[in-house]
């Protein structure tokens, strides 16, 4: 077993452990942290597959951004996971069936003698090819249409997020220094003349 394989098993073991903890952890914050660990180790696995750019983007986007949102949500909403878990046994059979199906499928993929991507299709990895550059070249030529579509999907997401969560500017009171300076005594104090009242 060479070093690469060792690293693969090491990372996979952590990944599986983290994945299990995500669904078994009692504290939702712990679950999110294990999810982060899972993403981190998957990024490691992708690196082993030489998918350098994607591995980095996985860390940057998922760990650096998406999980931050997750963490915000579980930290601030005080979700009680035990309540959510009550349906666990009810749904276990269905979940198990799907899980077994997927496991069988993976087994077939791995075990299949004929299963291989048609060889001619795999672009040879040049010795010094930077896969960011390769991706960039593809993204700006052949994949221009999905590239722009992705922007539109992001636009939909922005509009939807703002329309659904934002409830107009908050009515907070704050001081306007300019107005404070501009104010004159006459604006604040009204001097009135009135007859002296007699004390009785």
């Amino acid at each position: 077993m060479d070093f690469k394989t060792t690293v693969f098993f090491f990372l996979s073991a952590i990944l599986i452990f983290a994945g299990l903890r995500v669904i078994t952890a009692r504290n939702p914050v712990h679950a999110v942290l294990h999810l982060i660990l899972a993403f981190f180790t998957s990024a490691g696995l992708w690196l082993l597959l030489q998918a350098e750019f994607l591995a980095m983007v996985l860390v940057m986007v998922y760990i650096g951004a998406v999980m931050v949102l997750f963490l915000f949500v579980v930290m601030m909403l005080d979700i009680n996971l035990d309540q959510l878990r009550q349906g666990f046994w009810k749904y276990l059979p269905l979940g198990a069936v799907i899980g077994i199906l997927i496991a069988i499928e993976m087994g077939m993929v791995l075990g299949s003698r004929y299963f291989q991507v048609l060889d001619s299709e795999v672009p040879g990895v040049a010795a010094n090819a930077s896969n960011t550059r390769e991706l960039g070249a593809l993204l700006s030529t052949d994949y221009v249409y999905p590239f722009e579509l992705a922007a539109v999907v992001l636009l939909v997401a922005i509009v939807a997020a703002v329309a659904l969560t934002f409830r107009g500017p908050k009515k907070t009171r704050y001081t306007d220094p300019a107005a404070q300076i501009r104010v004159k005594a006459a604006d604040r104090v009204r001097v009135v003349k009135m007859p002296v009242e007699k004390q009785d």
């Binding site: 690469k4 690293v7 490691g44 690196l47 082993l48 030489q50 350098e52 750019f53 983007v57 940057m60 986007v61 650096g64 951004a65 998406v66 931050v68 949102l69 915000f72 949500v73 930290m75 601030m76 909403l77 005080d78 930077s130 960011t132 550059r133 991706l135 960039g136 070249a137 993204l139 700006s140 030529t141 221009v144 590239f147 722009e148 992705a150 922007a151 539109v152 992001l154 636009l155 997401a157 922005i158 509009v159 997020a161 703002v162 969560t165 934002f166 409830r167 107009g168 500017p169 908050k170 907070t172 704050y174």
Partner: protein
């Protein structure tokens, strides 16, 4: 390519170790005489009367969501930016290579302008 990543793996481990070591040493060397006053969370003279973990303003979520979108956008721009010099250097691609990203950015900026005008980026 992979062998270049080996030092990084080690560096991450060393980084974690450097985080763990001082705390461990602190634990071993420092005294530990806890009492209930010392262990109470910091408050301004009162006993804390509720859990500190409370619901927060929706703004924080909104900022986080918009951040994800921008982060994704940057991730999309990176590959293009690395080949932009080649794009500029090649005659047939020159114009197209820039315009496509200009369109990409404009689409997102429309969304940004919308969020801005709605006041979603205002803090208070």
């Amino acid at each position: 390519m992979l062998e270049n990543y080996f030092p990084i793996l080690m560096f991450i481990l060393v980084g974690l170790a450097i985080g763990v070591l001082p705390v461990l040493m602190g634990w071993l060397l420092a005294p530990s005489r806890p009492d209930s006053e010392k262990l109470s969370p910091y408050e301004c003279g009162f006993e804390a009367f509720e859990d500190a973990r409370m619901k927060f303003d929706v703004r924080y979520y909104l900022i986080a969501i918009i951040f994800i979108l921008f982060d994704l956008e940057i991730a999309f721009l990176f590959p293009w930016a690395t080949v932009f010099k080649d794009i500029v250097a090649s005659e047939p691609m020159r114009f197209f290579g820039f315009i496509e990203v200009a369109i990409f950015l404009t689409i997102i900026l429309v969304g940004d302008a919308y969020a801005w005008a709605k006041g979603a980026l205002d803090w208070e």
